[in-house]
């Protein structure tokens, strides 16, 4: 099963490689990983999307917790978090397909951020499932390049991660 894990880390030298090592050294899979500073000085937040059976996920979470620079690990089981991702997509857009691309962009409330006579570059944000859906529709029209940020996640409700 797929899990989205948020990891709050000290913004120290080597943290990213410690986390990456933990996954690669044990053959755990990473689907996506993002990291950036938070509102708190010195604190960064990673969002890791990974998969595996429950026992492996429990081991991953414990191992992450054990790393010295990691402050908190939150495993968002289904539904407890809102997830968003951004994709930048370059699609072929010539003649009749130009209108079709615009229609799709419109339906998904995406944006055109660069135009040439032969292509559009699109910025799409939303739940990763929504990104998958728009890509599905764009693919037949000619996907030239795709960049995804990977998911970021935040818990639902009024409480912050500190409770």
């Amino acid at each position: 099963m797929q899990h989205t894990i948020s990891v709050l880390v000290e913004n120290e030298f080597g943290v990213l490689s410690r986390v990456a090592n933990l996954f690669s050294g044990r053959g755990f899979n990473i689907d996506s990983l993002t990291v950036a500073p938070t509102n708190e000085e010195g604190l960064s937040r990673m969002t890791i999307v990974t998969r595996g059976d429950e026992q492996i996920l429990e081991q991953i979470t414990k191992q992450l917790n054990k790393l010295i620079d990691i402050i908190k690990v939150i495993d968002f089981t289904d539904g407890s978090a809102i997830e968003r991702e951004m994709a930048l997509v370059k699609v072929t857009a010539e003649d009749e397909s130009r209108a079709e691309v615009l229609r799709i962009v419109d339906i998904f409330r995406a944006k055109i951020i660069d135009v040439t006579p032969k292509s559009y570059t699109i910025e799409a944000t939303g739940n990763p499932v929504k990104i998958d859906a728009i890509l599905e529709l764009l693919r037949p029209l000619g996907l030239k390049e795709l960049v995804r940020t990977g998911a970021v996640a935040i818990g639902r409700g009024a409480k912050g991660w500190k409770g």
Partner: protein, 566 residues
Amino acid sequence: MKMNGARIVLECLKKEGVDTVFGYPGGTVINLYDELYSFKDIRHILPRHEQAGTHAADGYARATGRVGVAIATSGPGATNTVTGIATAYMDSIPMVIITGQVPTALIGNDAFQEVDIIGITRPCTKHSFLIRDVNDIAGIMKKAFYIARSGRPGPVLVDLPKDVQIAQAEFSYPETVEIRSYKPNLAGHPKQVEKAVGMLLSAQRPVVYVGGGAVLGNAAEELTALARKLALPVTTTLMGLGSFPENDPLSLGMLGMHGAYCANMAMTNSDLIIAIGARFDDRVTGKVATFAPHAKIIHIDVDPTSIKKNVRVDLPIVGDVRDVLDKMIKQVDKGSVKAAEFRDALAPWHEEIAGWKAKHPIGYKQSTTVIKPQFVIQKLRELSDDDAIISTDVGQHQMWTAQFFQFNRPRTLLTSGGLGTMGFGLPAAMGAQAAFPDRQVITICGDGGVQMNIQEMATLVQNRLPVKIVILNNNFLGMVRQWQELFFDKRYSSTCMELPIDFVKLAEAYGAKGFSTSKPGEVEKVIKQGFKEKGPVIMEFKIAREEKVLPMVPAGASLNEMVLNA
């Protein structure tokens, strides 16, 4: 007062109470060594190889419970420490390793003798630090020692660039240390402890399965008290040996691959296992699917990742062994009537265990013509001091030591269990002897492994460290040969050492004494002669070459499927 970074490092070590370090100089630590030259509060021991220096710091830590310290220069010096670091990591030994590094401006340039030692050791250190600013040294050293010794202990590497050693700063050592992202949970949850005692007192076939955590956590006393109070049978892992006296009738000895038949049978037939600072290693569980099929499992460990890693657990208690055992004892004392009833009801279980003990005790066939290794170990126990410290290398001799020496005190067996590092025994004994100049320190080695760090004979002689080196010489890489005999049709591929070594001459070449015998009748005499010597000694015993370690649970078999004689 301002001082340079090198001096600050030494002042930090002093503040941490470090009295001995093991290190080897080189270009990127030459400044540190220059400061050491006039620094009188720390004894520096120069090994003949950085791997040995690291094992020595490890042996020092295992014997004392304090943090061992090793120093090496950048590049090859640092890479030579890797096996020592990995050995300590696998057995959760507190250590701080200080490596020199090229100047900060050159890091990443493939400079002379530059390696990314932090990257290389990341999977085998508890944590590591690269110090980039002389003002950070004190804070980082404080953290390094704290992390190394607290929670589940482990090695911490501090990488120290040359320019940081030269730069000047004020020295002030922090009084306290606070790492918001690292807060080991030491106090066992009272509710869980209460439940544990409840489960225990309703068991009919309990076994206490004790590991290295009881040694690391200095809980031998509490463990012994609890077991005696409730008449609980106790078995230990290789790493747990000594935490419970093996001469106590409640002791079942070691369990696992080369453990006692009665210990493995007790585990298999138990209805309640209390695991105390043990991590259900595959050498202990055998085939996991059939491990302790009838038992509920209570697991006490300071490291949550150890719990439920290999086997299911019914009641986890995260906490320090000593804290949890202490709470358990108090809980038991609250209802002493129940405890007495419980003890009485265990009689049939003890009887059953006694039956297994009698049926297949750990034993061997004595010989009058050739020296049996087990006999040497028994004689060593008989003739050595009660508080003697024994280190072993890795192989058959290690298992015979575990089976026959009888360890009654914690921290008297120093052995590489998790990594199984040949070459560990001699330097580890060196570290222990440096810590305890007046205690008897004996290392029991094979002819193969002893040669992996034999150069340390020089360090022993030079530093007057009177380690007694026992070599059980079968002229084989015996443990591997045993597997080849049993599982590979006696195809002894590269396990015969061919060239016999004259270990007596070798001892003499280093300025030490050497004794050797191949006669059973001379074993006692040689040991006595060796023990009488004031300096380091080699005692070589040419043993029955094809003796096997038995019993044995073959790889992949269940614990109760032991090969008893083959």
